[in-house]
Symmetry: C2
Subunit: 696 residues, 2 copies
């Protein structure tokens, strides 16, 4: 689902702390500093250890992955994978899984398995479409939103495209006055209430996509008692120059495009905490804890303008204005008060089978230590960017690593290739698999490296990483050539440091707060497996937008990718090389110490193991089995998605979310806040113990 | 608190399953069989690995511990430790801790630390005694229970003995009719209700100690709406031959003795899940989830007879008859209906500091793998059996192992000596310490070996063990001499197998269900550390009693121990040797594989580590972070104390407890039962994964 700019461009969700919270804000910040400083301090010490093996011995396998990855193969894979829509639960995606699994087998991995889970999914009713209508007094409709997106290229001209909808929006009909709520953030609703005295109770809200996770827009609407929600792609956020030069003539969103997307989800709703295998006990569907309670439907800006242009009420403040050529007004209701909006949602829930592919190359020194490379393969429609640009590269990595294995270059640790189903509806395939293998992953997984989509544009590399994996990632980037061979910056590291530098660090920008935007969530948040998530991206300082414009629309086709995203496949290849090289750093080198690639004598293998165990245990020290307050599924004490925007990540979320609640509700959370500070202190102490040779 | 016979002599708590449960009983039983078979099967395979190091090299350290442990030292330690009462929170126990810590330091352990926790405790009010009275119509008392136990030997003639009480019984006054409820089990209350139509609502119940954990008697009384509870030691269970030959003339309970004991507790009530260190956030005392809600007080049988002999109502059935020379009647109320019982409890709650001593000898090969030897040092009064017979031996082990270290016989793994405070009130010292070091214990602890008290009689050895530690324990017993040197059975193993044979196994009896009776609980139930609990015991087939008679009374003195328990100290020495030898098997041998003592080349150290990691992870696979239904603190899916008797342990407790609830309440737990079967299946699969080299 991948919308990963929010942590950089989000305004704070909560108001400035009142006086009484200052001390705790200070304390919370202090804790983060202590923890990060502690990790960094430890790293500095670790890097003093020695390198004993001559460099030449390991040059070959490290170069192998750089030289042999082939962008034509990636292109072929992408063409093949995007030839049909790939929605979870359809025969198309099953066919593709069968094909990919066969490719991986042909690549001679030691083991390739398709593992299926039966999970709850949310679909629109094809024969009884979701509609957003303008109705007049006698109840008849004078405008109805489009059921499907008009095809704009040959690749997209297919009949089995899922119509736009939002997963987990319940069926229902809402009818009434419309209110424009800007991005649907808490502060937007607060502004309506406090500054304009506009109450959205029993009204339908229309919110533009952007700034925060779409599901939180609907949850906010619920909190303020709206009866339904309409989401749309405003040109200001998806066609920012406002020209008519839109897809298929540019990568900007046309007025027919609609962004699909889930409103919720952290794994299967019917089997919380445990895997949805055939032997599972499932909750009754009406017991599923789906927190989206009001109908919701996404529409295009070509449709949205019919609603927005006739709204009554005050004109919006400047920062609420979108890019349509109208006067934006808030409502409630239309100028013609006899007209109402009618929102009809006919989505339904059903259990379907999804499939993950797991491919393994067994390590020859420590088979019980894994590095996992993961991507999802399910798409909303054709998924040329999201996710199949990632899937296409993963298959190419299996090919080269299979070849290396055939040439007796076997990794010291086990490599696990994973491609997940059901990601778009809420990270379901990866979550169920992590739940199934939780114990061994917790105890044995060295790292999980996620590439959801490889490339959505070619401006700069973006990477989120556990602090523990920052150095292996940098080291990998230092040996990958800059995809722009004409540049004076010769390596990916150099150009990354140029186009997306860290803030005063002298090294490329990375962020530490790995949230729930892609499949690393269960690995990182629940099993405490140090993780990376990375991709080539547009420059979010140039374009202040939450996603590439055609994101989750029917226009994410092979044509679109090869015309507007990465026609040369050079950037896709660079991400592939980085992925493979980061894996090499963690599986080929004998002494990996996470941040320091080293080799050692065979006699010191036990010492290596013990040193690395400490580093693994450091990340696990942040996993609290009791989970965060009110969210037992989130167990990482240091980083988690915000409770109030799943696209934003908090450091010490138990503290920060509780502070937010104190701001907005009442003082009854003070005790909880103090308790959470205690849990954080305890957790940092546990982390310190993990690094001690004995730790008692 | 140690009352460890119940698992053998308990009748099933629930009735025969009705037809609809048969399938699930079968399934539950099947799961246990599968799990146990699986573990055993794996063991069989493991024992085929090779031994490569000559035996002579390790003979010396193994013999060292046998030869150098000195029973005179143990006797001296015991005399010293029992010289005063050792109640948690008093200066006496602090003085002893200081003394023991200094002994351990003198023994040259690498590190000795006293670690303190500030925890909630429950005490009787010394100036405002708890009383059980018979009152007449004008409210005046014609009989009042004794405030203190009369001293019966010189050792016990001290002024600062805590009066009898039950920890966590809340203050309160109950007045009304009395009902005799036998042992206070569910089936006793059900018999009253269903067969005799006697309702205990708003009545005071009197129950005899025995059969089940005392706290569950009070919880049962609450469930049936009693207003208060009186517990007493009936001669039938504490002076079973009914002679006048009682303490100080024998080990049987005199009519002045009272059993103290806690009614509840799994660690500190104010800091659930987290350690009660100085930085802790504590719940307000009125938020502590203490489930004992009615006043309760224990009395002697010399006092109890005043209440029981005048009861009205039907005579009791045969199996309800105690050993007093009266006709046991049920009540409700006295023959003289103007007389009532008045129960006054003035216990109070307060936060006190308790102390654990942690002593460490660092391993020289794998310092990050620990074997822990643990015992508690707090007592209700003098604690000559419980627990100081264990503490005295632990200190002697530190002496010999300190000597071994000084002679350069350093263990390969780290040995951690622990003596806990606050055990009697609910395993508090050990639980808080496990909470503090949960992460490293989960990841690094190989085994925890508990000796609460070393000896309560000399009939036979008793041992509970995780299946993983059964073989190291047997191997240790095979090199310890039989404490009775005149016996034809030369080793402890031989005499154990003779006096307490396993049921058809050909090996000595052990039980697998390590419950919450002593300090292994937090290690085993929460951190998944394979554990042993052992002691020398009376023959429970000869005497069908739940504890030795003077248990938790003021008569557990040095005089009592050296006169009636183990005057020669030969049996105490045997337990000491067994404890030290079991530790040797897990810390001296290089290849320990838990059940198979082996040694290997230095070059294979990594292979050894990997093999042992799998075994460690096997036990951890049974730890479910989500915990058991309604009891999140209990996380071991395979073994836990019964929800309905903390002294009884269930296999697959989530299943068995839920079945019990279905029997007694309604069918609404059926869904939960199915879910628990699923969790058990999942857990067994996780265990299988843990034993696989890769496991994915």
């Amino acid at each position: 689902m991948s919308n990963r700019h929010t942590k950089m461009d989000m305004e704070p969700l909560y108001e400035k702390p009142r006086k009484q919270t200052i001390g705790l804000v200070f304390l919370g910040t202090g804790l983060v500093c202590v923890a990060v400083g502690f990790v960094i301090g430890w790293f500095s010490r670790a890097t003093t250890t020695h390198i004993s093996e001559p460099k030449s011995e390991r040059t070959d396998p490290f170069q192998h992955i750089l030289n042999d990855l082939n962008k034509d193969n990636i292109r072929d894979n992408l063409k093949n994978y995007t030839s049909k829509q790939r929605l979870t639960g359809t025969q198309n995606v099953k066919d593709m899984v069968k094909h990919i699994a066969q490719q991986w087998r042909d690549h001679r991995l030691d083991k390739v398995e398709v593992i299926s889970y039966d999970v709850l999914m949310s679909y629109p009713n094809i024969t009884n479409p979701n509609t957003v209508e303008i109705v007049i007094q006698n109840g008849s409709s004078i405008f109805t939103s489009a059921f499907v997106e008009k095809a704009l290229d040959a690749d997209g001209n297919q009949s089995d495209i899922i119509p736009p909808y939002n997963s987990w929006a319940p069926p229902g009909i809402a009818e009434g006055e419309l209110v424009y709520v800007n991005y649907g953030r808490i502060e937007d609703f607060m502004f309506l209430k406090n500054s304009l005295s506009i109450d959205v109770t029993n009204k339908i809200v229309i919110a533009r996509y952007g700034k925060i996770f779409r599901g939180d827009k609907v949850l906010n609407a619920q909190r303020f008692n709206a009866s339904g929600a309409i989401l749309y792609t405003d040109p200001a956020d998806f066609n920012i120059y406002g020209t008519s030069d839109v897809y298929p003539d540019s990568w900007w969103m046309p007025d027919t495009g609609v962004q699909r997307g889930t409103l919720a989800g952290d794994g299967d709703y019917l089997t919380p905490f445990y895997p949805a295998r055939e032997y599972a006990h499932r909750l009754a569907i009406d017991k599923a804890l789906i927190d989206i309670k009001i109908p919701c439907q996404p529409i295009s800006y070509g449709d949205a303008v019919h609603f927005l242009r006739d709204l009554d009420g005050p004109a919006v403040p400047d920062d609420w204005k979108g890019g349509l050529n109208i006067t934006y007004r808030i409502g409630p209701g239309f100028i013609n008060t006899t007209r109402k909006v009618k929102l009809t949602v006919n989505n339904y829930l059903t259990v379907v089978t999804l499939e993950n592919i797991i491919g393994i190359i067994t390590g020859n020194v420590e088979p019980d230590r894994y590095v996992l490379l993961g991507n999802h393969h399910d798409a909303w429609v054709f998924g040329a960017v999201d996710p199949l640009s990632g899937t296409a590269t993963l298959t190419e990595i299996t090919r080269v690593m299979g070849e290396m294995k055939q040439s007796d270059i076997r990794p010291r640790r086990t490599i696990v290739f994973c491609t997940w189903g059901g990601e778009e509806a809420g990270l379901i395939g990866s979550t169920e698999w992590v739940e199934e293998y939780m114990k061994v992953l917790y105890e044995r997984a060295v790292a999980y490296i996620n590439v959801d989509y490889a490339v959505d544009y070619i401006d700069n590399l973006m990477a989120g990483t556990s602090p523990l994996l920052q150095d292996p990632l940098y080291q990998a980037a230092k040996i990958v050539p800059n995809p722009d061979s004409s540049s004076p910056y010769k390596t990916l590291y150099d150009v990354w440091n140029k186009t997306n530098p860290g803030d005063g660090t002298g090294e490329p920008s990375v962020y530490y707060s790995l949230g729930s935007v892609s499949d690393m969530a269960a690995f990182y948040q629940r099993a405490g497996v140090p993780s990376i998530d990375m991709w080539y991206d547009y420059d979010y300082k140039k374009w202040d937008i939450l996603s590439y414009p055609l994101y989750h629309s029917a226009y994410e086709t092979f044509h679109m990718f090869t015309t507007f995203i990465d026609p040369s496949f050079n950037y896709t290849l660079a991400v592939t090389r980085l992925w493979g090289s980061a894996n090499n750093n963690l599986t080929l080198a004998a002494w990996n110490f996470y941040n320091h690639i080293q080799t050692v004598d065979k006699n010191d293998l036990l010492a290596v193991r013990m040193a690395n165990d400490k580093m693994m245990q450091l990340e696990r020290a942040f996993i609290d089995p009791e989970g965060l307050p009110g969210r037992p599924i989130y167990k990482h004490v240091m980083f988690a998605p915000s409770k109030f925007d799943s696209y934003t990540d908090n450091s010490f979320p138990g503290i920060v979310d509780t502070m937010f609640e104190i701001q907005h509700n009442n003082a009854s959370s003070w005790e909880l806040l103090k308790q959470q500070v205690y849990v954080a202190t305890y957790t940092i102490q546990s982390a310190a113990n993990s690094l001690d040779p004995i730790g008692l």
